[in-house]
C-alpha cells in the first residue's frame, strides 16, 4: 500500500525540515539555563524588633548568590596560601577568632565576628570601610589571600561548579571575560550576600523577652546593671542589636599612639582620637579576646576594666565613662560584676553557631 506521490512528497519535505532543525538545535552551544534566566530573589527573615537591614542597591540578594558566597566563604580557591574566610572566622567563635590578626604594620587586631552584619553601617574597628559590599575586597591582598588573579580566573573557569554558579548568580556566561576588578567585586558580592544571611536573634536573652524562658535572679540583676545607670552599658550596646553602631572612646588608654588612635586614623579629626566602633555584644562570650587589640581575655577582665580601670583622662573619652559619680569607676560589688557577666552570657546564641545553613557546603 503506497501513499499518493503528492502526499509522499509533502511528507518527505516536512521530515527533512524537522531533521534539519533537530541537527541545528543539537549543534547549539550547551547552556543549561534559558537566556532569560534570572536569579531567585531572596528576602531576609528579619527578627522581631530588629530594624530594616542595610541591603546594597547594587547587590540585591538572591538564592543563587548566597549559595555561591557560601562556597567562596569556605573555599581556599581564592588564595594562593590555602587561606579562606574561615581561616580567621571560626564557627565556634561566632565566626571570629581567638588568635589576634597581625597586620602588616605590626598592629595586633581582634578579629571582628561575622554576626548580624546586615545591620552595620560601617566596618572594621575604625570604620574605615563604609560598605559591607566592598569590605572583603582587601582580602585579596598579600595580608590575607595573596590572590593571583590570573591564576584564579583559570581555576574558576575550569572548575566543575563555579562557571554554572556564576551564571546562575550573576548571569555571567564566561568568567574569563570579566576584568580582574569585576571578578573580585562579584566574588565579594556573593560573599556579602551570604554574610547578610548570618543573623543571630535566638539567644537566651531573646527567649526571655519572648517569655519562652526565665532569667535566673543573677542574670536579672546583671541585666539591671546593663540596662540602667548602674552600669550604663546600653548606651553603646543597646537592644536589640546590642550595639549603637557608633564610635566611642571607652578610656582604654590615657595616651593614644599608633593604631590606638582608632577612628582618627580615618577622619584625621582630633575629636576622633581613641574612638573605636562599639561592637555588638551578641555572642560576646564566644569572641574573646576583647577590645580592638584583644587586650582582655575574659569577660571578667572587661567588666573589671569598666568598673575600675577606665582612664578618665583619655582624650575624647565618652561622657558615659566620666559622668558624675562614675568618674572613678562604676563601683559595682563583686556579686554585681559576676551577675553582669552572667547576663552577658545570656546573649550567646548556640542556634546561630550550629546553624547548618552557615556551615561549610563542602
Amino acid at each position: 500500500m503506497f501513499l499518493p506521490y503528492k502526499i509522499m512528497k509533502r511528507y518527505i519535505i516536512v521530515v527533512f525540515i524537522v531533521v534539519v532543525f533537530a541537527i541545528l538545535y543539537s549543534c547549539k552551544k550547551d547552556t543549561t539555563l534559558p537566556a532569560d534566566f534570572k536569579a531567585t530573589p531572596y528576602t531576609l527573615k528579619i527578627p522581631a524588633r530588629f530594624p530594616a537591614p542595610i541591603i546594597a542597591i547594587d547587590n540585591p540578594m538572591t538564592v543563587e548568590g548566597i549559595k555561591l558566597g557560601r562556597m567562596f566563604y569556605y573555599d581556599p580557591i581564592l588564595s594562593t596560601n590555602g587561606k579562606s574566610c574561615v581561616t580567621c572566622h571560626f564557627r565556634e567563635n561566632s565566626y571570629s577568632s581567638a588568635p589576634l590578626f597581625l597586620a602588616s604594620n605590626g598592629a595586633k587586631i581582634s578579629v571582628i565576628p561575622h554576626i548580624n552584619l546586615a545591620w552595620n553601617p560601617d566596618f572594621l574597628w575604625d570604620g574605615s570601610e563604609p560598605t559591607l559590599d566592598r569590605e572583603p575586597l582587601a582580602d585579596f591582598g598579600p595580608e590575607f589571600f595573596n590572590t593571583n588573579m590570573s591564576e584564579l580566573i583559570q581555576k574558576l573557569k575550569n572548575h566543575p561548579k563555579y562557571p554554572i554558579l556564576f551564571k546562575q548568580a550573576f548571569n555571567i556566561d564566561d568568567i574569563a571575560t570579566l576584568s580582574e576588578k569585576d571578578l573580585q567585586l562579584k566574588i565579594v558580592y556573593a560573599i556579602t550576600q551570604f554574610l547578610r544571611t548570618m543573623i543571630s536573634a535566638d539567644s537566651k536573652y531573646d527567649k526571655m523577652l519572648k517569655r519562652q524562658v526565665n532569667f535566673t535572679p543573677e542574670e536579672m540583676d546583671g541585666m539591671q546593671t546593663f540596662m540602667t545607670e548602674r552600669g550604663d552599658c546600653f548606651h553603646c550596646h543597646g537592644d536589640p542589636l546590642m550595639t549603637s553602631n557608633t564610635f566611642n572612646n571607652n578610656g582604654l588608654d590615657s595616651v593614644l599612639t599608633g593604631s590606638n588612635l582608632g577612628r582618627y586614623l580615618v577622619t584625621l579629626n582630633d575629636f576622633d582620637k581613641g574612638k573605636f566602633s562599639s561592637p555588638t555584644l551578641r555572642n560576646i562570650e564566644l569572641t574573646a579576646p576583647f577590645m580592638h587589640d584583644g587586650r582582655f581575655t575574659t569577660l571578667e577582665e572587661v567588666v573589671e576594666f569598666y568598673n575600675s580601670g577606665v582612664h578618665w583622662n583619655s582624650p575624647n573619652i565618652d561622657p558615659i565613662m566620666t559622668k558624675p559619680a562614675k568618674k572613678y569607676g562604676l563601683g559595682l560589688s563583686t556579686t554585681q560584676k559576676a551577675n553582669l557577666v552572667k547576663f552577658l552570657k545570656t546573649l550567646t546564641d548556640t542556634a546561630y553557631i550550629n546553624n547548618k545553613d552557615f556551615m561549610s557546603p563542602f
Binding site: R49, F50, P51, A52, W119, P121, M223, Q224, M227, T228, E229, F234, G238, D239, P240, L241, S244, N245, T246, N249, N269, D270, F271, D272, N313, P315, N316, I317, D318, P319, I320, M321, T322, K323, P324
Partner: protein
Amino acid sequence: MKALCYLLFFIPFLFTLSCKKDTPLPQPKVNELQLSIQYNIDNVSYVTNINKYINQAGNHFSISRVSYYLSQIKLIKSDNSSVLVKEYQYVDADNTSSNKLIFNSIPIGDYIGIKFNIGLDSLHNISDALPTTMENINMAWPQMMGGGYHFLKMEGNFLDSLGQSFGYAMHLGTNVCLIPIMLNKKFTVSADSKLSFNLVMNINEWYKNPNIFDFNKDGNYIMGNMMLMKKITENGIDVFTL
C-alpha cells in the same frame, strides 16, 4: 469575506484613536507647607566636630551629634483651632532629609502660628510605640529605666578648665521633660499655595535662658539627674525661632 473587509477598513481608525493624546487628569490641590530646620550657635554656623563654639558659661565646645524628636506638630488657625500635620518626626541635624518637613493638603485659611513638642508625647513615649528603625532603636530608653525614648541627644566635646578635651552628653527624656513650643507666625493657606519657612534652632539657647549651664560646674552628663534635665528642659522653650 465581507466581515474581513470591514475589519481592515476600521483598523486604521483604531490606530488613530490609540494615538490620541491623553487628557491630563486634574491634579489634587497641594496646599503645601515646608519647614526647613536650620541650626546655628549664637549666629555662628553649625558644623560638627569643630571646637569653635562658646556657650554663655564660657565653655569652649564642639558638637558631634544633635538628634531629637518633634511631636504633635500643629498649625494654629486664627480661630485658635489647630490642624495636626505630623504625629512625630525624628530629626538628625546632620541628615538633610530629616530636617525638611513637608506637609500637604493643609486646609485653606488664615493661620497664626505653629506649635509642637520637642520630645515625644506620652502616647508615643512608650517602648516599641515607634517603628523599629535604626534611628528609633538608638533613641530607645530601656524598659528597666521606664521605657520610652530619648527626646534629645546632644553630644560633643568641651575643654575643661585645664584645656583637656572631655565628652559631654545632654540626653533628655521622660514625659515631664517634654518641651512645648509655640511659635507665632501669621500666614494664609490658599488653593495650591506652597509656603516655606525656616525653623531655626540656636543650639546655645540650650545652655542659657533661663538657666546657665556650665559643663565644668553642672557636669557633662544630665541623664538620670532630674534637676539637670529640668534645667535643660526649661532652656529648651526658646531654642527655636520661626
